[in-house]
């Protein structure tokens, strides 16, 4: 049977790639250390498959067809389309169709109806954490897109349900595979709106406290109240909520938090210790 071997979260500010050459050395060192710590843990977990949860930044979907959740079931995904990620070095990334289809079938059996893609373009939301974590070789990726760009978006409670579902799918996967989960995005940021560049450190601290404390009701309650008042990019915290639930909603370990005005983002890095798997096959 498959085993959940690690759950992680990291920010993915695109300027961490586009403007990297402009940053001073101490900032680069701090950011690199945070990503490398997550990468070291993920490497130590010896994951055969990484399920990565990220938004789509208008790379795959437009408002003529905008899923709230999409599972990438393809054997191959396209690398990032953004020119500033040309040095990532992966024009394509391997998928893992067998587990992805198991996840999809588990979802449908449980009353979830995600969209499905047989070939996603994995933009900076997916690729910056993979790149900066220095995962070489990259394990096969099963991408899950959760809409956090264009309202209406999934509720926070629904993201918890998706996390529980993902944990169930991993536990019931009848293959001897080690599976890790990476949530990408957040914490607070504001893009293309009047507050662009503002970092809401109070919101970020509230998120961190809630995730550290563990459980689900406090996080749902906090985000239902605070998220509508935070910058639009903050909605990516949905991916962290999903990861939190995958890990059994145990408190996370904050690896690092930095409000980085240079990239407009309150950046966070965290790891959860997975709970004993509560779901049978």
């Amino acid at each position: 049977m498959a085993k959940l071997v690690g759950v992680y979260a990291a920010s993915h500010a695109p300027l961490l790639a586009r403007d990297w050459h402009l940053f001073d050395e101490p900032l680069k060192a701090q950011v690199s250390a945070a990503y490398r710590e997550l990468g070291a843990r993920l490497n130590a977990a010896q994951a055969d498959i990484v399920v990565e949860i990220a938004p789509d930044h208008w790379s795959n979907f437009f408002i003529d067809n905008l899923p709230n959740v999409c599972i990438g079931v393809g054997a191959t995904h396209d690398g990032p389309p953004e020119p500033f990620l040309k040095d990532f070095g992966h024009p394509t990334l391997a998928g893992e169709p067998q587990f992805a289809m198991h996840l999809l079938e588990t979802a449908l059996a449980q009353g979830f109806e995600p969209s499905v893609s047989h070939r996603l373009a994995l933009d900076h939301g997916f690729c910056i954490p993979l790149w900066r974590m220095e995962l070489e070789p990259l394990p096969p990726i099963v991408p899950i897109v959760i809409n956090s760009l264009e309202p209406p978006m999934p509720t926070i409670a629904r993201c918890v349900a998706w996390g529980n579902l993902l944990a169930q799918a991993i536990a019931s996967y009848p293959v001897d595979a080690r599976i890790a989960v990476v949530a990408s995005g957040g914490l607070s940021h504001s893009i293309g709106e009047a507050t662009m560049g503002a970092i809401d450190e109070t919101f970020d601290a509230g998120c961190i406290r809630a995730f550290e404390a563990g459980g689900e009701p406090a996080i749902v309650d906090f985000l239902d109240r605070a998220l509508p008042l935070a910058g639009n990019g903050s909605h990516e915290v949905r991916n962290w909520v999903t990861a939190h639930a995958v890990a059994g909603s145990r408190g996370f370990e904050l690896i690092a938090y930095m409000a980085i005005p240079e990239v407009y983002v309150g950046c966070g890095w965290a790891a959860w210790s997975p709970a004993e798997q509560p779901y049978g096959p």
Binding site: H57, W58, S59, F62, I63, D64, P81, P83, L149, E150, P151, I191, G192, E193, A194, T195, M196, G197, N232
Partner: protein
């Protein structure tokens, strides 16, 4: 409820392509002709009137558009912050 302008959103979405963005920078009016924008929206785009455009599109698409159109980041920040 926010009003989403489909034609304007489609223009901004399409300009994520580097060749499309280059064509737009070379001849805005010709590209705009193909999208059937409402006259007031077209005028706002030609005037870089970000305050008028912003309520009509997703903020991320707006940010991408300003990059594609060649607007310097500092100018975009000044305009979007009002």
């Amino acid at each position: 409820m926010k009003r989403t302008d489909y034609a304007l959103s489609k223009l901004f979405f399409d300009l994520q392509s580097a060749p499309a963005a280059a064509a737009y920078r070379a001849d805005r009016a010709a590209v705009l002709e193909r999208y059937g924008l409402e006259p007031a929206v077209r005028a706002a785009v030609l005037a870089d009137d970000i305050a008028a455009i912003a309520p009509l599109v997703n903020p991320y698409l707006l940010r991408y558009y300003c990059t594609a159109s060649g607007m310097p980041e500092a100018e975009f920040l000044e305009k979007i912050r009002g």
